[in-house]
């Protein structure tokens, strides 16, 4: 244990900056996937609550497939599978990871958004429509602000899960923390040191996030059920 720590500290000047740069790539990957997932989630939620059965069914299939398929399989379909059918759909590994994680996140967030929208009483929607607000105004001024309180904690939890899931992108060689740890581990022959270091980096990113989410949960539940 003491020798392990010593060796880790000895190599830290060399590994530290590289791992830090890779951690920033992980954050970029997380952020890009999160933005894509949010957009997809909004589209999915709107389709899922639409008046048109066809749209609802497409959304349901998308949600079930997105939630039921492992992220790794989705990444492999996009990164390795798509180019064999259509060469134009050849993405670099980072983009493929963003698309894959974003699509899956869209399915998860779609259900979160829908739950938020549906939790707001129907009567409120009817009331604001009958007061002469347009459907768009009803959504942005009446429903969305209230739904926000319900959806923020699950969105936060999704973001934490996503941060950890980006490690899977290393399997298609997308540049991020886990891939850098693997590279350094194979060049230094010290896998234990580097994977523990990687774990510490992930923890340093996800733990503050989870504290924020927990605080948000208690703050937002005050004065409500």
């Amino acid at each position: 244990m003491i020798r392990f720590t010593q060796e880790l500290l000895e190599n830290l000047p060399e590994w530290g900056p590289q791992m830090l740069a890779a951690a920033l790539q992980t954050l970029q990957l997380t952020l890009a996937s999160f933005l894509f997932a949010t957009i997809m989630g909004a589209i999915v939620a709107l389709a899922r609550t639409s008046r048109f059965p066809a749209l609802r069914w497409i959304a349901i299939v998308f949600i079930e497939v997105g939630r039921g398929t492992p992220a790794l399989v989705i990444l492999f379909i996009i990164y390795f599978g798509l180019p064999t059918i259509l060469p134009a759909l050849e993405f670099d590994s980072f983009t493929a990871a963003v698309i894959g994680l974003g699509l899956q996140g869209g399915a998860l967030l779609g259900e979160v958004f829908r739950a938020g929208i549906e939790a707001i009483e129907r009567g409120q929607r009817e009331a604001s429509l009958s007061l002469g607000l347009t459907p768009a105004q009803t959504m942005t001024d009446v429903i969305a602000p209230q739904a926000m309180r319900i959806v923020l904690p699950p969105i936060g939890n999704y973001a934490i899960g996503l941060l950890k899931d980006t490690s899977i992108a290393s399997i298609i060689a997308a540049p991020e923390l886990m891939l850098r740890a693997k590279d350094l581990a194979s060049s230094s022959f010290m896998p234990m040191h580097l994977y523990v270091l990687a774990a510490l980096f992930y923890f340093a990113m996800s733990y503050p996030l989870s504290l924020i989410v927990r605080r948000l949960e208690t703050a937002l539940s005050k004065g409500h059920r």
Partner: protein, 221 residues
Amino acid sequence: MGFWEILVRETPNFLPVLLEGAVVALEVAAGAVCIAIAGGLLLAIMLMTSFAPVRIAARSYVELMRGTPALTQLFIIYFGLADAGLSLPPLLAAIVGLGMNGAAYLSEVFRAGISAIHRGQTEAALSLGLPPLDVMRFVVLPQAIRIMLPAFCNYAVQLLKDTTLASSVAAPEIMFRARNLVMETYLSMQIYLLVACIYLAMSIPLSHLAARLQRAAQAWR
């Protein structure tokens, strides 16, 4: 030849190989669930004890495991421990890794379920003279299980999907076999689509069961 023709022609060749992998994936999941339940119960009890060092130890474990990716944990157990002189076979490494990860997750589920049962019931049972273990077994757990079941099923779905990570430590589950098939045939899209279908066939029924149990639990409360 078109994409679908190849898929139809090759599926009878691919499917048996992939289904063998599905059996391995289920074995990994089953082994991990056993470790996760045992570890989760132990952690839940540790989290609720009044002795601070035990509580802090359990809390640290849960936070560390939940704050780091399962893939990183798997690499520490498979590659890291091998370097430290303890090499586990891939399958065992996957079971231990996913099990230890699941224990942290389930401990929170168990704790929430147990603390949802009113304290008065425990006190009443204790004052009637039941030993603490019997109070747990006959009074608290039977009620808590109903509350915990939906979350447990959701965990099972997640675990099933997480078994794909075992392919990166060369455990011969579905993804590992799929990658080998792709190397032989180059038919990556067909093979990975089949893999997705196999996972969907396992995870969709399970997640619907979770949703149904959730509704039942709400009606019961």
